[in-house]
Every structure is written in C-alpha cells, then in structure tokens.
Symmetry: C2
Subunit: 300 residues, 2 copies
DNA sequence: TTGAAAGCGCTAACAC
DNA sequence: GTGTTAGCGCTTTCAA
C-alpha cells in the first residue's frame, strides 16, 4: 500500500497537515541584509541545519530598519512559522521581539547579546580586548576605531565599548571614533583622518566590510598596509582569507552560529520549552592574525 | 467590525487559507550556496521583490550537488510553494527541472541559459568577448583562463566557450585552462602556471571569488597586479569595488536578476500562464573596468 | 447586506 | 489491526 502510494506519486499536503497539527515545519529568519557576507554565511548554516531536520526556512531582510524588523516578524507570524531566529539592530528596544513574546512564539537572537533574551553570540568585547592588546604589543599607540553608525547596531556599540575599555586598560587615549555611513562606498571620512599629521598607526574596524574599505582609503592616501598602517576587521567572512594582504580579524563561526540558533529553536519547538535567556550560548571566536597588521612604524 | 477584529489581534491563518485556495504565497528558491556573494545578492533581490507583493521565499542550497538540487525541489514541492526560481548546475540535464515540469509548477531559471527553459540571465559569452577584446587592445597576447570545475556549472562552460571564441577571433591561442577546485582555498595550481617562463600576462577568471584568489596567487609569486599581470573577474559582486586594486569584472545586475525572476514567476502564478522559454530575459551586463588591469608588460 | 454550510486534505481519536 | 469520523480555519457559494 505504501508502495502504491509511492507509485501514484502521492505527496502529503503540507498546509492540511499544518492546519491539523498546528506545526508548519518552517522557521522564520530575520536578518539585516544578505549583502554583508557575515549574514549570508550565517543563513547558509541555518539552511543546512534546518534541512537536515525536514524543516524549511523563511528569511526576511530588514535593511537595518526598525519598522521593517517589526513588519518582518508580523509577516512571519501570519505565515505561521514555528519559531523565529533574528538578528536585530538593538535587542534592548526591539519592538519585533516584543511582538514575538506577546504571541509566545519561540525565538532566538543571533549576534545580539542581551541578558533578557536567548542569544547565540560571541564575546565581542573580549575579542576587542585581544585584538587591541596585540596591536599594543606591536608598539601601536595611536589607534582609532572605524565604525558604522553606532545607533544602527548594538553590536557596533558593544565592540566600540570593548575597544575603549581595552585602550583604557593599556593606558592609551582612544582616538576620536571614525563613524562611516554603513551602506555607502565613501572612504572620505577615513582618508581625512589618515591625512592628519598625527595620524593613527592602526585602525580597528567594527566589521570586515568596513576594514576592506579602510584598506582602500589607506591606499588612496598613499599608505601601505601593513608597513605604514595596520588594519583589523571583525566577523571573519570567508573572503577575508583570500584578500591581499590577508585581513587580521576576529573570526566568528558564522555558519555555526546559524546552526546553533536553529538547533536550539527546534529543540524548543519539539520540547515545547521555549529557549530562555538563561541558556544563552556564547560561541568561541578566534583572533585570525594575518598580513594586514605589523609593528608600528618607528618614524611615523 | 474590522476594527474589532484588529483590536482582538486577529490574524488569519495562512495554512487554512492555503488549503482552501491552493495558493501558499510562498516561492521556492534553489541556489548553489550563499557563500558566494553573487547568489546572496540575488537572493536579496528576490526577498525584496517578493515581500513587496506579500509573498515569502523559501530558499534551499545545493552545494552544487545534483542530487541535492532534486531533493530541494522535492522538499519545496511538499511545502506547496506556488513557484520555484532556481540556479542549477546544468540546465540541460537537470533532474530537478524535470521534476518541476512533471508537477506543472511554474519555474524560472536564473543565471542559467538554455533554449528549452524560461531563463533570466546575462550574455556571458558576449561579455567574455568584450573583456578579452579589452585585454588584447592593451597588448596582451598570452592570456589564460582560470575556472572552477567546468563540469560543475554550465555557466563556467559558457564563459569558457566565449573566452575561446574571443581568443580565436583575435588570432590568439588560448593557454591551457587552469581548473581550480571550486570550494578550496588552494592557490597552488594558479601559482604553478605563474612561475613558468612564458607565463600569461593576463588571467581571465570565471568568477570574482576565483579572481580574488588569483590575485592572491600572483602576489605569492611576487607579481604585482596590474603591473606584472592583469586579472579579471566575472559577476560583479559588491565587494569587488572595494578591493585594492579594484577588480575589473563583468558586472551582472545580481539583485535585479533576482527581482526579475520572481516578478516573472509571480506574473505566471497570477495569470496562470507559466513562464515560457520563449520569453526568456537577458539582462544587460556591464564591463566594469578597474585597476586590476593594465597594459601588458613590455619585457615580460 | 448578512448568515449558514460545505469542503480544502490531513491527523488523531475512537470504534470495530 | 482496519475503518470511520470529527475538525483544524479559512473561502466560496448559495440562501435568506
């Protein structure tokens, strides 16, 4: 009989099953953008892990816009997803999360870190300490940080905080933050700083894409990386390894983070015990030290 | 009454509606991987276009594996998607497509080009002619192509064909193809060629990721780009613009291609007239000429 | 204009 | 075991 069904090409109807069981076997995913490989890699990990368990994913992108975050969650809810994994701009104030909680749909945050929510993340501040420490060991004293708009992301904020702490601990004064519009290709703001007489000898960037652009800016100012200036990134996107010079960065296990998030979520769905803040997961990061950093120039 | 429903937080149940209307408002997407930004950018375009129309997407990745392509389609079918946009390895022999046709689910291929299927793509062969032509104009004679495994993708094959034709037309003999394992970080095969006495003065790569790795290989051989060797890519991933040196490449409108594919698909779903091969769309590409290319060295 | 009823295809419960 | 049935929440049709 089973064989007959097979032969006739019978395929159970998912919506009927969903209607009956109240389980859609779909997870909603909310991400800022797929244009940053860090999120694409993460989504790839999620796709792999869910497929293994017969689940599908439904991704929505927000362009870092708060209203879009909420709208995305609303949409996912209306599609009846069994759970949601999200990367939000600011976990503390996210209306998207509020919505999720009010509907008692299980959710997990990824990359965000917040004591009140279940999160899968890395210790961004500790990572910053490590990378700044290395630069200091190499003789760098004038170190500045390059950031996207801080208000756009609690991750950037946390990384900046870690940077300031680390500088403080090393007895150094952090240079003024170089804030770059997130989406644009402009290198002007960075170049301006690099043309000052007491320019930094090292630039710590809040993500790899920004680091790439910073390397570009250095080049346009006639500076060589790493001879004249050291540059570091954050995220560990795959591409960074193939760059010339190879980018020093904090490598996060992006695909793993995605896997961990959906696995946790699925456990929650199956056991009917929603992921809780107390069980938040911190995955190990790795300082991937590479060619974009060297000892501070002796005659700056 | 509507207001009351609103106030009570009423949210129509998607699976009940789907069951009744036989319309899920979900499109399936099949992609090789999200690790290559070209597909991530495309998916981003798809996400945007579908969201605007109240549709959701369900992506599956195949890692370029044929059996996974078929399995992905099978899964999507069982989830009851209204249509499928796919990037397959080889449109001519894809069992995934056969499956789709047998179920009469509307589908559109993206990046693939094949006379028997509805496709959204760019003219890869013509693009190759243009880029080779430019190199020849700059005095390059010894030009070789770097490719992923040809068998893995009809796109690579087509690009290679275009390369050979263009070389032929210029009265030049194509150098032996440099075939690189697609996923690995190895630069050895490329470096080997670059260390031969009559090394190529230009390397044409079948995609941007490979071009990045090729730049790396050149660097490791002590060659400067573009002074000693010119390098071109294909795809136009966003990152290429921020590289140093900026990568010359064939820029495809990746997000646009995604948008066009799902828009076409949705038109098909709504009008009940499936996208047909005869209406295939060729989007314009652009040769993005940049710093990674220069005149052939006079004393090679 | 408003209301009632049938049925989409499945699963779970219960009867045989 | 094997068969029957109710009902998940919606849309559509037909009746009042």
């Amino acid at each position: 009989m089973l064989a007959v069904a097979q032969k006739l090409g019978y395929r159970p109807n998912a919506s009927a099953r969903t209607l009956r069981t109240q389980r859609s076997k779909v997870l909603g995913i909310v991400l800022p953008t797929l244009e940053n490989p860090v999120f694409a890699e993460c989504l790839q990990g999620m796709a792999g892990a869910t497929a293994e368990q017969g689940y599908a994913i439904m991704p929505m992108t927000t362009q870092y816009r708060l209203d879009t975050e909420e709208e995305a969650v609303r949409q996912l809810l209306s599609f009846g997803v069994d759970g949601v994994a999200l990367v939000v701009s600011d976990a503390g104030s996210s209306r998207a999360i509020t919505l999720l909680r009010s509907e008692t749909v299980p959710y997990v945050l990824v990359y965000n870190r917040h004591p009140a929510h279940p999160c899968v993340s890395v210790a961004g501040d500790a990572a910053m300490h490590e990378i700044v420490g290395r630069l200091v060991d190499l003789g760098h004293r004038r170190i500045a940080m390059v950031c996207g708009r801080l208000t756009a992301s609690d991750r950037a904020l946390q990384r900046h905080l870690g940077f300031c702490e680390a500088m403080d601990q090393a007895g150094l004064t952090p240079r003024p933050l170089i804030e770059v519009p997130f989406v644009e290709t402009a290198t002007q703001d960075i170049a301006d700083v690099l043309r000052t007489p007491q320019r930094p000898t090292a630039l710590v960037c809040s993500n790899d894409l920004l680091a790439l652009r910073t390397m570009r800016a250095a080049h346009e100012c006639g500076l060589s990386v790493p001879q004249d200036i050291s540059i570091t990134g954050f995220d560990g996107i795959g591409l960074a390894r193939d760059l010339t010079p190879r980018l020093s960065t904090i490598a996060q296990p992006n695909a793993e983070m995605g896997r961990a998030a959906v696995t946790w979520l699925l456990d929650g769905v199956n056991s009917r015990r929603h992921p809780s803040a107390a069980d938040s997961i911190t995955l190990p990061h790795r300082v991937r030290w590479a060619e974009s950093c060297a000892a501070a120039p002796t005659h700056p």
